[in-house]
Every structure is written in C-alpha cells, then in structure tokens.
C-alpha cells in the first residue's frame, strides 16, 4: 500500500444545527475527521446520529452551520462533495426490483465508471462484501444481512475517500458483524470513516476515536481508552438523562 499523509482533513463539521418542527435533532455539533481515522458515532436512539450523517452526505440541508468534505462545502458544491463520499444510509435502502449485480452496476455508472473499470469496481466490492453467491439474485429476495452488505458494496463501489456508514452492522449475525468491523478497520487505514452505532463493543473493535452524542449534542469524545472503562458505564452515565426523562 502506498504510504499516505495521515493528517489530511477530510470531513469538517462546524456548529451544525437541524430542527424538525419543535424538535432540535442536532444542536450545535462540531468535529473533524482525518484520513486514516475511523470515528465511531455513538448515542442512544433518537440522539441525532442519522440526522448528522444526512447533513454530511447532503441529504438534509443544515439550518445553520457548515459541513465540508474534502474541502468542498456540501451545500455550495454538493457534487464535488458527494463524489468523494460513499454512503450507507440507515436501513440500507436498495432498489428491490434490481439484481445485486445490476444495482452495483447502476451505482458504478452513476459514479462515472464504465466498461472494464466498472467490472473491476463491481468485482472488488463484491469480494469485499462477500456477495458472490447472490450476484444475480433480485434484491427483494435477499436476507437482511445480504441486503445490508449489498448497500454497503454500493457505498464502496468507487473506492471513496470518505465513508459515512449509518449503523453498518445493524441486522447482521455475529459472524457478519465481525467481518464488517474488520472491513471498516481495514478501510480506515486509507480513508476517513464515520460510522454510527449503539453497540459499544464496536468502538473497541473498529474505532480510532469515538464521539458520544446525546439529544443532538456531543457529550464526550476521545479514543476508547481516553473515554474510560468500562465503556458501558461511561455511555450510560453520559446519556442516561434521556432515558430517565422519557
């Protein structure tokens, strides 16, 4: 592997705010992700993880604050930013009428890959996500784990510099979870990766850094060691207010 500068800033988030009606889903979040980092985004359900990721990927426009990806402001130059990103949305939506290989081909073509480059990209994504046994199966007949990995393969198809993965291990069995975590760690060596989870063991298994959010705000961040142990106690202490209130 070619050695790369590891201190390149890939995602820069400043004071992000998003409100839905009266509900402030994201309330002034700022953080950076550099190449070579895997940032775990932790928080209880409804704490604003998905909303933040949707603003990074340009699906939601922030009410205020800024996101830039690879130096491109997501609101002002969305295409340049989106080209750098591979995104696995929550629930891993995929076109259910397509076959796995058809769907990946579509993703590749949209990313400007054709002919041999397209075939190579599909082959690599299929191998990374262990999809070779279901290549020609229609997506609506896939089990949840395969469906999830198909959508993950879509996110990896153009070998992006930035990966945004919303609950990438959701719905996978323990073996698949293990494989995906290894994959994330591997990808994190050369890319900037943010992934959300509420499974604490994933922090130790895959992250170089974790950010804990609660009710739209960052309540702690650091390496797993810096956050303290056991992680579960740290997490519960920081985010318990929500559960008590609810």
């Amino acid at each position: 592997m070619r050695p790369r500068k590891t201190n390149t800033l890939m995602i820069k988030i400043e004071n992000l705010v998003k409100t839905f009606g009266a509900k402030r889903a994201v309330d002034g979040i700022s953080f950076n992700v550099e190449r070579g980092e895997v940032v775990g985004f932790l928080g209880p359900n409804g704490s604003g993880k998905s909303t933040t990721m949707r603003m990074i990927t340009g699906y939601y426009a922030p009410d205020s604050g800024k996101v830039s990806v690879g130096g491109n402001d997501v609101v002002e130059s969305p295409l340049a930013a989106k080209r750098l990103i591979g995104y696995l949305p929550e629930n891993a939506a995929a076109y259910s009428d397509m076959t796995v290989v058809g769907f990946l081909g579509f993703a590749a073509e949209i990313r400007g890959l054709t002919g041999g480059a397209k075939q190579k990209a599909i082959g690599r994504a299929v191998e990374r996500c262990f999809l070779s046994s279901v290549l020609h199966q229609s997506i609506d007949t896939l089990s949840k784990g395969y469906r999830h990995r198909t959508c993950l393969a879509q996110a990896l198809i153009h070998d992006p510099e930035v990966l945004v993965l919303d609950e990438p291990t959701d719905g996978l069995d323990p073996n698949q979870k293990h494989e995906v975590r290894n994959l994330i760690r591997e990808l994190g060596k050369t890319k900037a990766v943010v992934f959300s989870t509420h499974i604490l063991e994933e922090v130790d298994a895959a992250c170089t850094r974790a950010i804990i959010i609660d009710r739209g705000r960052i309540v702690a961040q650091g390496t797993p060691d810096e956050l303290g142990r056991p992680l579960e106690d740290v997490f519960r202490r920081l985010t318990i207010a929500d559960t008590v209130k609810a």
Binding site: T57, R83, P89, A93, Y95, M98, I110, R111
Partner: protein, 241 residues
C-alpha cells in the same frame, strides 16, 4: 446528459422487470381497441381516418398515464431509496429528467404498439398519413403532459394511490377546462373571453389541432411548458421534502 441516461435506463429496467409493465401494455392496447372500434364506431363512420382512435386519448390517458407514473417518486420515498438517489453525485434535475424520460419512453412504446390500427385504416382505405402522424405526435405530447403532472403528484407523497388520485384530478381539470359540455355550461354565466381563457389551459383545445393534422408550434409550446412547469414543481417539492 450521461447521468440522465443512467437514471432513465435503471427506471426502464424497473418497468420491464415487473409484470406490471406487460399488464399495463395489454390493458392499454385492449382499451384503445375497445374505444376505437366499439365506442368510437370506427367502422360505422366509414371514413379513412383515425379520429375515432385519437379522440379518446385525453380520456384514456386520464387513468393510464397516472397509473404508469405514480410510482416514480412515491416508491422512492416509501422504500427510502430516495436518500440513496439524492446523495449520489447527480443534480436533482438529472434525476427528475431521467425518471420522466424513462416513463415517457415507456408510454411511447405503448403508443407505438397501436400500429395495427394504422395498418388497418390503410388497408381499408387511403387515409391522410400525415394527419395520422400529427395525431400520434400530439398524443405523445399529451401523454408527456399528464406524465409530468403525475411526476409532480408522485413527489408529494409516499403513497402511490394518493399520487394516482391527485394526478387524475389535476388532469381531469385540464380536460374539462376545454370540454364542450363544460364550456357550454359556463356560457350561461361567463363571458366568451373568459371561457376562451379557461379553455386555453385545456389539453383538449391544444390536442384538437394535432388530430386535424395541424402541427402548430403554439400547441407544442403549450405541452412543453406544461411539462417544464410540472417538472420544475417536482424539483421544488423534492427540495422541500
């Protein structure tokens, strides 16, 4: 342009991998046949023209075009794939155009499959084939206008049935504004100038010329602006989703 085509290709694939497309084509052909030969009294008219065929299109499309287009955006919203689509490096406009084009091509295929009526009328008599061509062109644009409206209603909801109903209602207005029984009714209280203004918004008024074999740029412009406006509105709706 390339992106538009990638989107359109995917969308066309979605039509033809599902049996719904073939059912749609069969129903389309059965209904055009029924309206032309039975309700339209094609043979009884004893004239070598397709007026019995084209005359029904505004009504036929009222149901068939919304049925063909209702899933375009509603299904993306229901299944959540819209999030994927909108985070790909394409502009919303490219996605809108690609989807619209795919459906329009699909409707064009359905329309092209009615070619046996053209053969029939040419075997039975000697029709003005230029007029028939104009009729087909007008019919294609009429379908495009309805389809663009369906795109718009489909973008409003995640429920295909709601999209269908909204689209039928909107298209019905565009027919009725220039439909003779309605304009006659309005004539009792409204000034002729008012009626003409309302009728100018009707697809029937603008489709008439094509049926008579006249390709008027104003009529073409009408359909094109209706398509343009509806697709623009689709973009606004999607942005505020």
């Amino acid at each position: 342009m390339k992106h538009i085509w990638v989107i359109a290709k995917r969308e066309l694939g979605a039509y033809f991998t599902s049996p719904v497309a073939y059912i749609f084509l069969v129903i389309f052909l059965l209904l055009t046949g029924f309206f032309t030969f039975t309700a339209g009294q094609f043979f009884e008219r004893g004239e070598a023209s397709l007026s019995a065929f084209f005359g029904w299109h505004p009504w036929l499309y009222l149901v068939l075009v919304p049925a063909a287009g209702m899933r375009l955006w509603a299904e993306e919203r229901r299944s959540g794939t819209i999030e994927l689509l909108m985070t790909l490096p394409i502009t919303p406009w490219q996605a809108i155009a690609g989807k619209f084009l795919a459906s329009w091509i699909f409707l064009g295929v359905a329309l092209a499959l009615t070619f046996p009526v053209v053969i029939t009328v040419n075997v039975l008599g000697s029709p003005d084939n230029g007029m028939i061509f104009a009729g087909y062109l007008g019919s294609f644009f009429l379908a495009g206008a309805y389809l663009a409206i369906t795109c718009m209603t489909s973008a409003m909801t995640r429920n295909q049935v709601v999209a269908f109903i909204l689209s039928v209602v909107a298209c019905l207005f565009l027919i009725l504004a220039g439909f003779n029984p309605v304009t006659d009714l309005m004539a009792r209280w409204a000034s002729p100038a008012f009626i003409d203004t309302v009728a100018a918004f009707s697809v029937v008024t603008h489709f008439d010329g094509f049926q008579k074999g006249v390709i008027d740029t104003r009529d073409l412009l009408f359909f094109l602006s209706l398509i343009g406006f509806s697709l623009f509105a689709t973009g606004v709706i999607l942005r505020n989703r």
